[in-house]
Each structure stands twice: as structure tokens, then as C-alpha cells.
């Protein structure tokens, strides 16, 4: 068995990394790779503990798996948008389209993981703890929320910023207040606005920039709708054949991931559902009081436009930065939905309100939890017969 071979290899290497071994400096790297492949055999010495095969690393792997449909479709859509822009869709095959996108998206993913894991390894060595696995997910989320034309060095800086400032400064994985992937995106959005919004960043034209067809705009449907031009087919938006960030376009692929997350119990359906409800509620309310074409678009279209679905499924449910209590999750999700649509529709400066809404509610998640817990304490105190 190859698996057993690997295991023997790890067992043989272990003494070198233990205290006193000559490679002890790299012990956290060793442990990181070992537990990546195998369940740790270390047992708890005190107290009783329920041992489950599902630890943080496997939780993270499940989220990565849930992201795979979105990622694959994102790759295909990058190629699709490219060939559609130059009017060459008819004479290209499915594989050509996919491979074009694959080759454009792959470097972004490599840069994201390379920089992020490099910093995580470095911090683990300096602080002498194990490598935290939180970046396994962030490393894939970050490329998926970026426009394809984001320069790689910008991606690298944003990843470094998010890992160092949004995570390590707060104490590493599990201690961060905000979703690191969204911090990376917000950093880029405010630092390099011309590369994160507008008409020319969503479709990779490359060397074919002079071949674009007549009437090509390159703007996202949401960006156009903001200017009052309602030129999209909502089913294209649902399946994902629209320009946008790499992974955010296909609501269908995202919903596949959502189903996987809910079935495996990794992602909270309460948060996802309440976020959607919040958006529908606000969308309907805005429909009623609409004064311009953008406010008049049917409220449920908002779910499939822009990054809403991606945010609602993968960003809001981050277990670290979201609310923890059951009631808190409903409030947290609902407010994200409400704020996302409010920012999107009513503030013309930020067509993508989902990112800001989630970051804002990340900030308030502990407060929501606090009041939910306090409310529960008060209710139960009323029931006790003995005076406290």
C-alpha cells in the first residue's frame, strides 16, 4: 500500500523533528504535513473527551471540496467570456475554453496559496506552534472573489495583508474578527479601486484585446444595472455565464457547494437562509419604493447578480467570524442580507455591498451573541424559584 509507505516514511522522519533532533526548528512544518494526511495519534491525558475524526483540518477540506464546482465553473467562465468577447465562441471546443480559463486562474491560486501558506509557516516557526489550517480555505476563497485581471503582485500583497494584519495580529486562526478572505478583497478594493471595479477588469482579453466584437462592454450586469442599463438574462446569471469575479458568477455551482456544506453539517443553513431572506425582504421593500430602473429590478434577481450568492454561502458561514448562537445566526444572517442590498442599491459608490455587509456584521457578531446569551440567562433566571 502506498498509504502505508507514506505512514512509514513519516514515522521514520519523526525523531529528527522531535526536541533535540537536528531538524527540530521545522517541527511545525513536519506536523503540519503529517496531520494533513493522517489523524494525529496524540491522545488527551486529562479528563474525558469525545474523539471524532472530524477536526479543523478536515472541516476545512470539506469547505475546499464544496468550492470545487465553483472553481471549475469559474475557470470555464473565464474562457467563455474571453472567447465570447472576441466572437470566437462558435469555433472553439469545450476543452479549449476550459483550458484557457484554467491556465489564467491557476497562477492566481498558486500565488494565493504560496504567499499565504509561506507566511503561516513562518509565523508557526517563530511562535513555535503548529501550523494553523485556516488558510486552506482562505487561500482558495481569495482567488475566487477577485477579478481575473487583478495583477498577481496585488494578489500577493492582499494575501500577505490579510494573513498578517487580519489574522496573525489577532492571534492566528480562530482568533480573527473578520473573514480573512474578505479582508484581502476589501484591501484590494480600497487600495487599487481601478483594478477592482469598472468595465475592464472582469474579462481577460490578453493579446486579443483588438479583436473584440462590436458592442462589447466588459461590465458586469450589476455594474450596468447600477447605471440603469438592464441588459442581462437572469438565467445566464443563475448558471453563471456573465462577467464577474472568478468564482462568483454561477449561483448554480455555488448552490451545489451550499448543498454539500449543509449535508455534511459544515456550513450553517440558518445563516445562509436568513441571509437570503434578508436580501429578499429588502429587495421587495426597495421594489415598492423604487424611483429608478435599478431599484425596479425584480427583488429576487439580486440573489443571482454580483457576489451575493458566493458571499451568502461561503463568506457568511465562516465559523470563526460568524455568530455562534442559534438565534444569533438568524439575526446575523438577516442583517447581512438587508445591509448587502441596501449598500448595493442605495449607495452608488459600492455596487458590491455584500463584502462590506459581511465585514460589518462580522464586527457585530460577538455583540449579537452576547445579547442572545444574556437574554437566555435572564429568561432562565425568571424560572428559578430560589432567589439569587
Amino acid at each position: 500500500m502506498i498509504g502505508q509507505g507514506f505512514k512509514n516514511f513519516f514515522d521514520k522522519q519523526r525523531p529528527k523533528f522531535e526536541k533535540g533532533g537536528k531538524l527540530h526548528t521545522f517541527h511545525s512544518v513536519f506536523e503540519g504535513f503529517e496531520t494533513f494526511l493522517y489523524v494525529s495519534d496524540a491522545t488527551t491525558k486529562k479528563g474525558s473527551h469525545v474523539r471524532d475524526y472530524i477536526d479543523l483540518k478536515r472541516t476545512m477540506i470539506f469547505v475546499v471540496l464544496a468550492l470545487v464546482p465553483t472553481m471549475l465553473f469559474g475557470m470555464y467562465n473565464i474562457g467563455y467570456q474571453h472567447f465570447a468577447a472576441i466572437g470566437a465562441l462558435a469555433e472553439t471546443t469545450f476543452m479549449q475554453v476550459f483550458i484557457y480559463g484554467f491556465l489564467r486562474v491557476l497562477p492566481v491560486i498558486i500565488v494565493s496559496y504560496g504567499v499565504g501558506l509561506g507566511i503561516e509557516f513562518a509565523f508557526a516557526q517563530i511562535k513555535g506552534h503548529e501550523i494553523h489550517e485556516g488558510f486552506l480555505v482562505s487561500g482558495l476563497l481569495i482567488p475566487l472573489v477577485l477579478p481575473i485581471d487583478t495583477p498577481l503582485w496585488m494578489t500577493a500583497i492582499a494575501v500577505a495583508f490579510s494573513v498578517i494584519i487580519a489574522k496573525e495580529a489577532f492571534g492566528g486562526t480562530g482568533m480573527n474578527i473578520w473573514n480573512p478572505a474578505l479582508i484581502a478583497r476589501a484591501f484590494l478594493f480600497f487600495a487599487y479601486p481601478s483594478h477592482m471595479s469598472g468595465d475592464s477588469v472582469w474579462i481577460r482579453l490578453g493579446t486579443d484585446a483588438d479583436k473584440v466584437v462590436d458592442g462589447f462592454s466588459g461590465a458586469t450586469p450589476l455594474g450596468l444595472a447600477l447605471n440603469g442599463i438592464l441588459d442581462y438574462n437572469i438565467w445566464d446569471a443563475f448558471w453563471g455565464f456573465i462577467p464577474g469575479s472568478i468564482g462568483e458568477t454561477s449561483s448554480f455551482a455555488i448552490l451545489l457547494g451550499a448543498a454539500f456544506l449543509i449535508i455534511t453539517g459544515i456550513g450553517s443553513w440558518k445563516i445562509m437562509l436568513s441571509t437570503v431572506l434578508g436580501a429578499l425582504f429588502t429587495g421587495a421593500l426597495i421594489n415598492v419604493f423604487a424611483v429608478n430602473p435599478f431599484m425596479e429590478i425584480p427583488f429576487w434577481h439580486h440573489l443571482f447578480l454580483g457576489g451575493f450568492m458566493f458571499g451568502a454561502v461561503f463568506m457568511t458561514t465562516d465559523p470563526v467570524s460568524a455568530s455562534q448562537t442559534a438565534k444569533g445566526k438568524w439575526i446575523y444572517g438577516f442583517l447581512i442580507g438587508v445591509l448587502a442590498i441596501v449598500i448595493r442599491v442605495l449607495n452608488p459608490a459600492f455596487p458590491e455591498g455584500v463584502m462590506l455587509a459581511i465585514l460589518l456584521m462580522n464586527t457585530f457578531a460577538p455583540l449579537i451573541d452576547h445579547y442572545v446569551v444574556q437574554g437566555n440567562v435572564r429568561r432562565r433566571l425568571k424560572r428559578v424559584s430560589v432567589k439569587v
Binding site: W153, A169, F187, F190, A191, H195
Partner: protein, 215 residues
Amino acid sequence: MSDKETLFSKKNLRLLTDPLGSKNPITVQVLGICSALAVTAQLKPSVVMAISVVAVMGFSNVIVSLLRNTIPNRIRIIVQLVIVASLVILVDQILKAYIYDVSKQLSVFVGLIITNCIIMGRLEAFALGNKPGPSFLDGIGNAAGYGLILVIVGFFRELLGAGTIWGLQIIPEGFYNFGYVNNGLMVLSPMALITVGIIIWVQRYRNTELVEENK
């Protein structure tokens, strides 16, 4: 303090040097943050602001120290405010007369030196109870500690946010042709706060005595 003690004794010199490091008003006491965020988008206003605060603080400490035995305790804050405000107006007028462009850039923040908590803090904590000599050193020292952080933050914000230092292009044109873009976030004030945070982080990493105990 004995009368024989010279102005530049070891103890008095520490009044001057401590605020630059282990007793820094911004990074250790976390005072005067507002102006540190507001004026540090470029190096030039940061330096001018730093010098202005040094002047105001040095003189207000001396004046309050000279008057310390005559100021009635109950109205001391008002007296201190009057002294600081007069000095600030003086500085403001000088800036307007000699470097009008920077004065315009700093806008209200020169006037707001009056409300800088470092100044009131030092007046209350030091000048009211010490002789003019040491008070002067304490004022200069704390203002310099404040100014030092301002200059560091201003340096990085201007370099990364505009590619310039003191208005001169530092990052070569070739970089921009290769696709380098100035970081717009550096110009916004949140990044000033984050830069101060990074300075605090680095300082505590080097000087572990500053790290609070984990309760």
C-alpha cells in the same frame, strides 16, 4: 529634586529620551491618535505638525511650570487651556505667514493641537509639579516622541500611497510602466491606524517589557 541638580543630569535626560521609546505617548500610552491619523498622509505636513507640537508643548510646559504655584487648583484646566490656546494661535499664525501651503493642508488640525491629550496630560502630570527646566525637557521629549511616530507613519504613507517623499518622486517611472500602482488605501486614514498598530507590534516585539501580562 535637590537644587544642586543640573538641568542635564542623567535623570532629567531620561525625561527627554524615554518618550521616544518605552514611554512613547502614541505607541505606549496611545494618546494623540486623532491628529496622528489626520495629518500623516504625507511626510511634509507630518514634520511640520511634529515641530509645531514640540514648540507648543515645550513652551506651555515651561509657562505652566512657572505659574504652578499661583494657579488656583479649581480653575487650573482653564488656565492651562488659555496658555496652550495662545501658543497654538501663535504657531498657526507663523505657519500661515511662512509656509502657507502646508498650513492649508493641515487646516484645522493645527488649531486642534489645543485638544491634543498629550499636551494636557503632560501639563497635569508633570508641569504642575516640577520646575521649569525639567518641565521643558519633559515637554520637548513627549512632543518629540509624538513627532517621531508621525514622521515614521507619514514617511511610509507617502512612499506607498503616492510614491513620493517630501513631494519628490522616489519610486521610478519604470515601476509604473511595469504595472506598479500606488496603494490608495495608504492615503486613507484607516491605514494610518494600521501603520501605528504595526509600529506598536514591532516595538513590543523588540521590547517585551511593554507587553501586558495575560490575565
